[in-house]
């Protein structure tokens, strides 16, 4: 049960369990963002869920083509911001009134006006750091080991090549059918990726 949940969560990050044997998935190259877009749409319509596109830059509309929901990073940002604001307010109030109250020209020990800069800066700091941490966590990064790195061709994913990777973990995955589908969609250099589990 718990293990299944973990698999589920990891799949949203693009980390998949190897399928039968050591087969991790199938990788196909497409010639341009347009071909990748139409292919991703078709793969999704064929019922696949655990697949991903890899491109050197974000492709507009790909989330919709793949059927992915909106990113949830914003909630983490909000949480970080609230935490920062609370910390800033507490810091200003506690140091001024509890820890070391000092009477300066009869001014109040705590007031919002002079506290705003500190509260604001801490809000921004915590929100920004939470955003980055949340983005990395939701992406399952850092991920030094990824079976896709075994593919020689895949190095071009950060240069000028466009890939679809269908995970063996997907319930529809079948070496023959999936391969045929990707080929029909215009996929080239189709290869099976093995999760060999060793780093070079």
């Amino acid at each position: 049960m718990l293990k299944q949940l973990a698999t589920e969560v990891k799949a949203t990050m693009g980390i998949y369990e190897p399928g039968p044997g050591t087969v991790y998935g199938m990788l196909a190259e497409f010639k341009d963002p347009g071909a990748l877009y139409t292919a991703a749409k078709a793969v999704r319509e064929a019922g696949y869920k655990r697949f991903d596109t890899h491109s050197p830059f974000p492709i507009h509309g790909m989330d919709k083509a793949m059927g992915l929901p909106n990113s949830k990073v914003g909630f983490i940002t909000l949480g970080g911001g609230i935490a920062g604001l609370a910390l800033g307010t507490w810091l200003q109030w506690w140091t001024g009134t509890v820890s070391y109250p000092m009477n300066i020209s009869g001014k109040p020990f705590f007031a919002f006006e002079p506290s705003i800069p500190i509260m604001f800066e801490l809000t921004v700091l915590f929100a920004a750091l939470a955003t980055v941490a949340g983005m990395l966590a939701m992406n399952g990064l850092p991920r030094p080991y990824n079976p896709l790195f075994y593919s020689r061709n895949f190095a071009r994913a950060t240069d000028d090549a466009f890939f679809i990777h269908v995970a063996a973990d997907d319930s529809h995955f079948d070496e023959k059918d999936t391969g045929a589908l990707l080929e029909r969609l215009g996929g080239r250099n189709i290869e099976i990726i093995h999760d060999r589990g060793d780093a070079e």
Partner: protein, 489 residues
């Protein structure tokens, strides 16, 4: 104006259209060409010219270290500070360097929110400039405290006195504002770098290079599941950095505006400081980019259109700053306060009139040449103006700080402030620090945001191929496309 593929199509079709926007990337470059053009400079053998420039910058850095050591040994008496002028070069240089940094955040965050896609060509270098400029800025308040070993008292760290910093002081707000600004800028910059470091990783040929880029790129594979969160995070960081950058120079201006010194105590300071910061920062970006694009041969990515747009921003913000100078004079007269009126007359016609008119000429007059299209597209001309603007903006901070202080309420304590050689050489030394860092950046890090530049090219739009490009209509043809190098199974 956002350039969608439909717009750029129109541009290609009607080149005679006067209002047509030139393409962001010129010279018919492919995605791979962009990768090559940018990463090649981090992979090739270090050129001799780089070593030359780096040595020169290192001499400046050594100068800074020497001057700071001399200061620590002897105390702040080695500076030219005197009794009415308790703030001299240190604060002037601090505000100058922080201001330089602001253009980087404006380009990376504010122009991003406004969907100004031309920012992609320059944002990486501009953000690097921000980080290095803020580092230079942080040197000054740190060494200005006199007892530098107690600098941690500015942070809310429990100490043996059981006291907290004075949270009601703008100087303390500065500590928070500038350090948060530095941290967020650095994080923002690193997030932008991740896909490009992955590009370097995938091209790496040596083991060391593969290890270093492998660790720094965190296993980035350009997966769309990742891009989705990444783009959202980038947008949120831009949305956070925007109010942050405005707050930083506002807080810096509070250092002055919250005091009761005539010439400082004005409400116009926050917006005027922010405009001035963007003005000087853009001038610095122009100075650096004019050289870098030439030396590194990336004129097709940082095009003349980019430079022209920056010059328009220089013209706009320069005029805003000039308007603020004039408003200050009007308000001084209109306030009816004789101290305020004297402070401003003394600025323009007193012993520091030379500094005031240098500032006026460089900041208000010189940028006006950019009304002329031919001049704002002339590289040598904009280079000269950008240098003048930086001189002018340094003098602005000098004028604000020194002329307001040197003649305060009590004429018996009036004095003339002259910097010592330590003041001057410390300032020169920070340029050494800045250029040391900037040259390291140019050598080891892709100076253009590769993934972002590719993303704004018309070919990056999946619908570009619906009607142009590869000879067959993908949208209708999916099920019958026959791959060339594979047979049907």
């Amino acid at each position: 104006m956002p350039v969608s593929s439909a717009d750029s199509e129109k541009t290609l079709a009607s080149t005679a259209d006067y209002h047509a926007e030139a393409p962001l990337v010129q010279g018919n470059l492919s995605f791979h060409d962009i990768t090559e053009l940018v990463t090649a400079h981090t992979e090739k053998k270090t050129p001799l010219a780089w070593w030359g420039a780096f040595s020169l910058a290192n001499i400046g850095l050594l100068l800074l270290v020497g001057m700071v050591a001399y200061l620590f040994w002897n105390g702040t008496g080695v500076w030219g500070l005197n009794n009415p002028v308790g703030w001299g070069y240190a604060i002037v240089n601090f505000v100058f360097w922080v201001g330089i940094g602001h253009a980087g955040t404006l380009i990376s965050a504010i122009l991003f929110l406004f969907r100004q896609q031309w920012r992609t060509g320059i944002n990486r270098a501009a953000e690097a400039m921000t980080i290095f400029a803020v580092m230079c800025a942080l040197v000054f308040p740190t060494i200005h405290v006199g007892r530098v070993w107690a600098i941690y008292w500015t942070l809310p760290i429990p100490n043996q006195m059981e006291m907290w910093p004075q949270f009601k002081s703008p100087l303390l707000w500065d500590v928070f504002a500038v350090s948060v600004y530095f941290t967020v800028s650095l994080v923002f910059w690193y997030v932008g770098l991740i896909p490009d470091i992955a590009t370097m990783r995938d091209r790496a040929t040596t083991k060391v290079r593969r290890m270093v880029t492998g660790v720094l790129s965190m296993g980035w594979t350009g997966a769309n599941r990742h891009w989705r969160n990444y783009e959202k995070a980038y947008l949120l960081l831009a949305a956070l950095a925007t109010p942050l950058v405005l707050s930083v120079h506002s807080v810096v201006s509070f250092d002055f505006a919250v005091s009761i010194v005539p010439g400082w105590h004005t409400t116009i300071f926050p917006p005027y400081f922010v405009a001035g910061a963007i003005f000087s920062g853009f001038a610095m970006v122009v100075t650096l980019m004019v050289i870098a694009r030439k030396v590194y041969g990336i004129q097709n990515i940082i095009t003349i259109e980019h430079l022209e747009k920056m010059n328009i921003i220089i013209l706009l913000t320069g005029t805003m700053v000039g308007f603020a100078y004039i408003t200050e004079f009007f308000i001084a007269w209109y306030s009816g306060v004789q101290y305020e009126q004297y402070a401003f007359l003394n600025r323009a016609f007193g012993p520091y009139a030379w500094a005031y008119w240098t500032m006026m000429t460089c900041n208000l007059v010189f940028p006006q040449f950019f009304w002329i299209k031919r001049l704002r597209r002339s590289v040598p001309f904009m280079f000269a103006i950008s240098i003048f603007v930086n001189i002018g903006m340094w003098f602005e901070r000098f004028v604000i700080t020194v002329t307001s202080l040197h003649r305060d309420y009590l004429p018996s304590s009036w004095d003339y402030y002259t910097p010592t050689f330590v003041d001057v050489l410390t300032f020169v030394g920070t340029f050494g620090l800045f250029f040391t860092l900037f040259l390291l950046f140019l050598r080891f890090i892709p100076m253009v945001a590769i993934a972002e530049v590719k993303g704004v090219m018309p070919q990056a739009d999946p619908h570009f191929y619906d009607h142009a490009g590869d000879g067959h209509d993908q949208a209708h043809d999916v099920s019958v496309t026959t791959p060339q190098d594979h047979t049907q199974s």
